[in-house]
């Protein structure tokens, strides 16, 4: 093999090349399969697990429809019914829709953008196991008959200790938070991967539209999930320790929960819909065999949807007594979403108009998508109208609307995508016959169930009733809905059968079976763990249409990064805009660490459920230790990249530069973290302004230790900044001493905050005021403590030679955390000390 130019690797035996790659990238079998971090495997695991959870959620739906089929019919006790509908919503939203869409993106994105893996493979594995364990913990509550039963949006005070005394709500709060670790980590990872690992030459405006959709979805997850995570933490604190955040008697407000929940909950709808629309946008051009016209229009629509969807949350709260003018703002904003959605629909329509579409099974699902989703969108615009919403809010009309939107916008495109990418997963083609049966059964069953349900709601049937009396006109529509739901269930079973059978009887798929344009079809079918043995330069939007021979030349190793005798997993690190290669990103390999960390987190979750706080503390410390150990295998560590030599003409390894995925990952994570903190600050000001019985203690917070801590942290940030600057200039004398000094400073600064917390004589279980102060201070203490530990570890790593002039990258990553902490501390100081002393005093 040539060592002079990686571009012109001579056509040695392609099989030999693949064997070499397999040695580095290949998946182990048996127990060691738990160590796999590869995105293809993780993505498939997400899809399969999500599919199983979907079946569970579907089963729960069948129970609901059976109970409601006849008036007065009681298959289940009311409390069991309440558990069942709560779990149906929870499972479908948190364990099916979001993870499924993320799983598909985890599987597809690197392949579409010409990368070998996601940027943080071990994080993918951690995310998957958190999802699996969290989901199992949540589902176990059904078997133990203690499932959450306050509805999937867990309104307080119904979900609080006083009104749901058992562990039911705890299962939801802890289980969902656990699952959300997975959602947010996948979100972070997808953002960074899309921005930084596109193959050489793939500029931002040439990347597949699916990547745009996923980029926006992932950003929305990063900003949208933290409010709910915060809400869950606060509610769990209220349940476990009596902090009255949502209890009006202690100066809290139950409406704060609704704000936090829907601040997450509405963007969530678009987090589910956008990847669905991304599938539609990917498939339509393929089945029309012509490019989607209006690439820019679609990008415009997607970005707009992403933003506007954060300005809609109050439309779930039109009946809580907010002034009508404020409602009108949200009403108008809600209707506005019709515009970017309309833009996308008509861009698809125009493409169909100009092309000659082929009628295959995926296309059938797309037609179903359009008919169902547009109907759901239209009822959505109706619901945005305040007076109409007052009438149908919390009735079966809303149930029908949201199933039209979610099943139409997510399930139908997902099915289209599943059939489309099935050859990719299995190497075999799906059948046409059984697939059509499945579609028609689902389509007819779905409309039978939910079309009539609009009417059921309009004539006054509220949602979430476990039974109803005869004679209100609700009998027949409910019976029709129940029959329809069983038809739909048969349809789902048909699809399942079709998919199972195809693994055995499907015809082997030819190369690029749908004659698609995107790079994921340039891999072998099914793909190898490294996707592409050589990474091509791509400067066109439709690489496989313009260069049909690309798959072969890739497999023959005629493109870049084909040398692997160093044993590193490598992919390109490229410029976020131009897609020009900047560095080689070396990726970590298989490891037990993610599995162990997730297992420990599961122990933490279970011990909190059982109120075994000693064990919980132990599990937290153990998790921290595992995660720190994980971070240890970086840079010049023997398990990472001890030898930094690359081929002549190739860029350096990312750990030998000042920029790399970790920097971006830290940035995006801090964005999520900041969204969480800002939600907390919002809660503080919200309660201060509108909580009905807000109480400010007579003794104001002194704030001196906090001020001192803030000043100290500011000095530390300047110090670290100068240190990094010196490192950039190429000098690392006394790096170790400086880092050690900084760590000591950070410990002192954290201790000052701790003093503030302990010395303030807070009564967090008495007033919401003190409870919020407690959480804000604790937040800063945890983060500053973490910065102290990480800085100390940096100093230690310098002494090992893992960090230094050769590998100068990590201190910059840590520096971001320092700056973040500084911002948080001063915002906290302004909110807790300056605001009450000035404006808040009146």
């Amino acid at each position: 093999m040539s060592r002079t130019s990686p571009r012109a690797a001579p056509a040695t035996d392609a099989d030999q090349l693949h064997d070499q790659f397999d040695e580095v990238w290949g998946n182990p079998r048996g127990w060691r399969a738990l160590t796999i971090v590869n995105h293809t495997t993780i993505g498939l695991r997400f899809l399969v697990t999500g599919g199983v959870f979907f079946l569970v959620g579907g089963l729960l739906a069948m129970l609901i429809r059976t109970q409601l089929a006849l008036p007065g019919y009681q298959l289940m006790e009311p409390d069991v019914y309440n558990q069942v509908f709560t779990m149906h919503g929870t499972v479908m939203m948190f364990l099916f829709a979001v993870p499924m869409m993320e799983g598909l993106a985890v599987y597809l994105i690197p392949k579409m953008i010409g990368a070998r893996d996601l940027v943080f493979p071990r994080l993918s594995a951690l995310g998957y196991f958190c999802y699996l364990f969290g989901g199992l913990i949540l589902l176990s509550s059904i078997l133990l008959d203690v499932a959450p039963k306050a509805g999937w949006f867990m309104y307080t005070p119904l979900s609080s200790q006083a009104h749901t005394p058992g562990v039911n709500s705890d299962f939801w709060l802890l289980g969902i938070t656990f699952v959300e670790i997975s959602a947010v980590s996948a979100g972070v990872e997808l953002v960074v991967s899309i921005l930084r690992t596109r193959t050489n030459g793939m500029t931002l405006h040439k990347m597949p539209l699916y990547a745009w959709y996923i980029l926006v979805m992932a950003m929305m997850i990063v900003v949208g999930f933290p409010p709910l995570i915060l809400g869950s933490i606060l509610l769990e604190l209220e349940r476990a320790a009596g902090f009255p955040f949502f209890d009006p008697a202690g100066g809290g407000d139950p409406l704060l929960w609704q704000h936090l929940f829907w601040l997450f909950g509405h963007p969530e709808v678009y987090i589910i819909f956008l990847p669905g629309a991304g599938i539609v946008t990917t498939l339509i051009p393929v089945f029309c065999q012509r490019p989607l016209v209006g690439y820019r229009w679609v990008v415009l629509g997607v970005v707009t949807t992403g933003f506007i969807s954060f300005g809609l949350w109050v439309h779930h709260m039109f009946t809580v007594g907010i002034p009508q003018l404020a409602q009108a703002f949200f009403s108008a904003a809600s209707m506005l979403v019709a515009i970017p959605t309309g833009v996308q629909i008509f861009a698809w329509l125009a493409t169909l108009w100009l092309g000659r579409p082929v009628y295959r099974v995926p296309m059938l699902w797309l037609v179903g998508f359009l008919l169902v989703f547009v109907a759901g969108g239209l009822t959505g615009v109706m619901l945005a109208l305040v007076p109409f919403d007052w009438q149908v809010h919390d009735t079966h009309f809303v149930v029908a609307h949201m199933h039209y939107v979610l099943v139409g916008g997510m399930f139908f495109p997902l099915m289209a995508g599943l059939y489309y990418w099935l050859p990719h997963f299995s190497g075999r083609m799906p059948s046409e016959k059984l697939g059509r049966w499945g579609f028609w059964l689902v389509f007819i069953g779905f409309n039978l169930t939910f079309l009539i349900m609009h009417w059921t709601g309009l004539i006054g049937m509220p949602r979430r009733v476990y039974t109803y009396e005869s004679g209100l006109g609700w009998d027949l529509p409910n019976l029709i809905s129940s029959i329809g739901s069983f038809v739909m269930a048969i349809g789902v079973a048909t699809i399942l059968l079709d998919i199972v059978l195809h693994f055995r009887f499907g015809l082997p798929a030819p190369k690029n079976p749908w004659h698609a344009d995107t790079l994921e079809w340039a891999t072998s079918l099914p793909p190898s763990a490294y996707n592409f043995v050589s990474l091509p330069e791509v400067s066109e939007r439709h690489p496989l249409w313009e260069r049909p021979q690309l798959p072969d030349s890739i497999a023959r190793g005629e493109h870049a990064l084909t040398v692997i005798d160093h044993g590193r997993r490598e992919t390109w690190g490229t410029d976020p805009l131009s897609g020009k290669v900047r560095e080689i990103i070396h990726l970590p390999g298989n490891s037990w660490l993610p599995f162990i960390a997730a297992l420990l987190l599961a122990v933490l979750c279970l011990s909190l459920l059982n109120k075994a706080y000693g064990l919980a503390l132990g599990a937290t410390l153990a998790t921290l230790a595992v995660l720190l150990r994980w971070s240890w295998e970086n840079g010049a560590h023997p398990a990472a990249a001890p030898d930094a030599r690359t081929q002549p003409g190739e860029p350096p390894l990312h750990s030998r530069t000042f920029d790399g995925p970790g920097l971006w990952g830290m940035g995006v994570t801090l964005l999520a973290n900041g969204a969480l903190y800002l939600s907390l600050v919002f809660g503080w000001f919200y309660l201060w302004t509108v909580a009905p019985q807000w109480k400010v203690p007579a003794q104001a917070l002194s704030g001196w230790p906090m001020l001192a801590s803030g000043v100290l942290l500011g000095i530390g940030c300047l110090w670290l900044h100068r240190l990094v600057k010196r490192l950039r200039r190429g000098s690392h004398d006394t790096l170790l001493q400086n880092l050690a000094g900084l760590a000591a400073l950070a410990f002192i600064q954290t201790a000052l905050l701790l003093w503030q917390l302990l010395g303030a004589q807070l009564a967090p279980s008495e007033t919401a005021h003190d409870a919020v102060v407690f959480v804000m201070l604790a937040y800063s203490i945890i983060h500053c403590g973490l910065a102290a530990v990480l800085t100390a570890l940096q100093a230690w790593r310098v002494s090992y030679g893992y960090v230094g002039i050769e590998a100068p990258y990590e201190p910059i990553v840590v520096e971001q955390l320092w700056h973040y902490n500084l911002g948080v501390l001063w915002i906290g100081y302004a909110a807790m000390v300056l605001f009450p002393a000035t404006w808040g005093g009146t």
């Binding site: 820019r296 415009l300 003018l325």
Partner: protein
């Protein structure tokens, strides 16, 4: 090629219009909520009160700014010597600003119809 964050060709400009819209939206909602708690105008005044007027002026200012920026980016995108990437960024930015302006207009309309604190 790298651009400074302030350059009209930096992709930062793509979401800018909607960021402005979001800030304006937060000001509208937050301002309305805070004033209604602290010093609500009398309901008898209907829509002709200082709160609606203030929010209305804010809306007009945001609308003007967004329309101005939309025109600015549109003009930029029509210049002849741009490369494909520059056209992409400026055209999308113009579109985003225009949509944000439209959104501002729509969300502002209720100010003419509904008194603020009921």
């Amino acid at each position: 090629m790298k651009y400074a964050r302030t350059s009209p060709f930096h992709p930062m400009q793509i979401p800018l219009g909607l960021v402005i819209w979001s800030l304006w939206f937060v000001l509208m909602y937050g301002g309305q909520a805070v004033v209604c708690t602290l010093a609500p105008p009398a309901p008898e005044q209907g829509v002709w009160n200082w709160l609606n007027a203030g929010l209305g002026l804010l809306t007009l200012a945001a609308l003007g700014l967004l329309l101005g920026l939309a025109v600015h980016f549109w003009r930029l995108s029509r210049r002849s010597q741009l490369n494909e990437r520059q056209v992409f960024v400026t055209k999308i930015a113009a579109g985003v600003h225009l949509i944000a302006a439209l959104a501002t207009l729509f969300v502002g309309i209720p100010l003419l119809q509904i008194p603020p604190c009921l």
